[in-house]
Symmetry: C2
Subunit: 452 residues, 2 copies
Amino acid sequence: MERIKPRTLSGFMELLPAQQQQMERVMDILRTTYSRYGFTPLDTPIIEASEILLAKGGGETEKQIYRFSKGDSDLSLRFDLTVPLAKYVALHYNELAFPFRRFQIGKVYRGERAQRGRFREFYQADIDVIGDGELDIMNDAEIPAIIYDVFSAMGLKRFQIRINNRRVLNGFYSMLGLTEQSGEIMRTVDKIEKIGSDMVRAILVDDVKLTGEQADEILKFIAITGTNDEVLAALKGYCGRDAMFDQGYEELSTVIKYLGGFGVAQENFKVDLTIARGLDYYTGTVYETALLDYPQIGSVCSGGRYDNLAEYYTDRKLPGVGISIGVTRLFYVLGEQGLLNDALNTAPADVLLLPMTEDLSFAVSLATKLRERGLRAQLYTENKKFKAKMNYADKTKIPYVLFLGEDEVASGVVTCKDMTTGEQTKGAPDEIIARIYAAIREKNAQKVIVEK
Amino acid sequence: MERIKPRTLSGFMELLPAQQQQMERVMDILRTTYSRYGFTPLDTPIIEASEILLAKGGGETEKQIYRFSKGDSDLSLRFDLTVPLAKYVALHYNELAFPFRRFQIGKVYRGERAQRGRFREFYQADIDVIGDGELDIMNDAEIPAIIYDVFSAMGLKRFQIRINNRRVLNGFYSMLGLTEQSGEIMRTVDKIEKIGSDMVRAILVDDVKLTGEQADEILKFIAITGTNDEVLAALKGYCGRDAMFDQGYEELSTVIKYLGGFGVAQENFKVDLTIARGLDYYTGTVYETALLDYPQIGSVCSGGRYDNLAEYYTDRKLPGVGISIGVTRLFYVLGEQGLLNDALNTAPADVLLLPMTEDLSFAVSLATKLRERGLRAQLYTENKKFKAKMNYADKTKIPYVLFLGEDEVASGVVTCKDMTTGEQTKGAPDEIIARIYAAIREKNAQKVIVEK
């Protein structure tokens, strides 16, 4: 028979078993944390009608989209989870209760040029709170707390959630009489970390046609730094001149005030006036999240407040606030930086049972007992040499091996080898099971990320 | 702005929040149970090169496949999880330990004609054990035990795993000198439940050109019924005449012998000589699973033993045994039959906090406490009338509501309303949390399926 060379498409992540176990841990943390905050899981189709996905139309997205025909249908693979959410909420509006809080973890598709660390199929893990007509600012304060919990549960410490408010920016530009140019200004200012403030000033003056004075005012404004209290105090100095600015200031203050109460550590969040997010979509609070030791990676979790989730599908005003983690890219980056914990229990099983008797009844019932106790148990019955069996345990990193020989089965005793220490002990099954259970519990308390 | 009518493609399941929670419970059970048996999770791309997916080529599959071009690439969406597994094992052979035990729960795509209860995007939940060169028969005995655990954990009782062995059938046909026709015979016999034995006999004689004697021998053989012991005893009578038959008989006996040991109840499995599975792919043990009260639904979980997982990609002999649950269809059918448990906790949160104070610090810290205890807590801060807030709790079916008024906050007390009973109680936060925790634990012990 002619063989076809097996391969996986480039830009598509396919993990080996141990890495996949690490990824599963990440997914578990996302699901659990999102659920704890009262977000309900959703799962929408990966394929949608093209007219739905491209309702907004145009731009980079349309070029990258996987679009094709099947029969008479013009179909596309979703490129994010926001557009499907908008469709979902517009379609099922009458059956939902608002504020509608959903999380979705799913694959999305973008036919980007293949390059290292860029994926064409990747997971996004999104949360959004959608209001019917209006939505309280406290929701904006809660979102960073959720991100903090997610990253903390993973074991990440050196990260910073950066928060700003578009109304503060728009209000400020309005004070300068630059409302028209504010989009262009924000896109320029957004690049300050990459290109530096001199270059930003040059672009503002040469390309955006601001006066030198206006450019300096802007640079002075976005240079406001310090503790959160200091930044808010400096912003307060601008209050009373523009209604939009004042509203933005109030919102930002509220978000910052309650963040501590949600248990977010002071070093993990910061008002940052340079954050604007490129998308015109956002209208109030905006978030980015930086890994402090890896600034080159950019934001690993971004989002913000928007006024109209579903304006392409419905007349209803559906404001929302949400955030998205690019899980596949984050996982890739963590791996590249050596931050994934090798000591994590990534074996397919906690216990390998090696029966050495003709009749397997004892082994089968012991395996059942281990599983009932919540342990992952594998019965190994292949006809191999002892050495091959131990190699299997080694290669898969299964932490405990139970030997079940004739004498042992007869006397109701098992021998347990701890594969980490090499230590071998004998005991009654219940005693051994209790010991393994305690050890595995401790092992599983390991975090998936270990910072150097 | 012109609106586009929101819609979801037909043949694509999109659940409302409460149903999705039920589906999540099903997914949880699958993941947990598969893991307990030492299967490692895999996640392969949904898109593969068409040459990979269609290596086997031909047939119904090729017509149904979602195939398209992107740039120079000829791409397809996977139509099952077996072909991607074959590719994975062939590609990563050197990095895997054998037997390789993996589970995968993922979406697959088939462009079937749209009709009620047929899906074009659906989840499969597969387990497979792949050997390197050979694979012990005990693996075949373990597979039904896993299915039994999965269905039992869901709350299903009236199901039956039906087991046969293709070697028993092929050996029997060889005894009759009908090896050439065995494929055709099995496909005919496979229809016996649908068309009855008279029709089967007619087809065997008229179309397959057997003698009346041969047809009667076959019908007599597949009519062997009774307890598992009785069927095995009847089969034993045929032993000694054909080596393949004898091997099949040994395998089937071993599988049946150990199934009880794995904890599978006698009424939930049965040797059934009519089961052959249409696919030529299977060579030994075959499984189907019937819902006893809904025979019209057909098998909800099928699989078996095969000799060569990846013959299209590698020269290596990789025998395996596996089974697949069509989760989306099963879930749909359970819903249609009214078997999904309405009493399941499907709310987005366990507790809704209603602060009635200006300052929200107390509410925020109480919500954090609830979450730390593992409860799902939602802070409701929208500016709505009291009645609208209670309607929200009603509509989302959140089981407990906490009222946090000025007096209560001042005296460190909370009022808790049990939304099921309507009962209202006051107490210290820790006391209330402990009570809710115990009640939610009990609520969550509910099964997702309740048979009538």
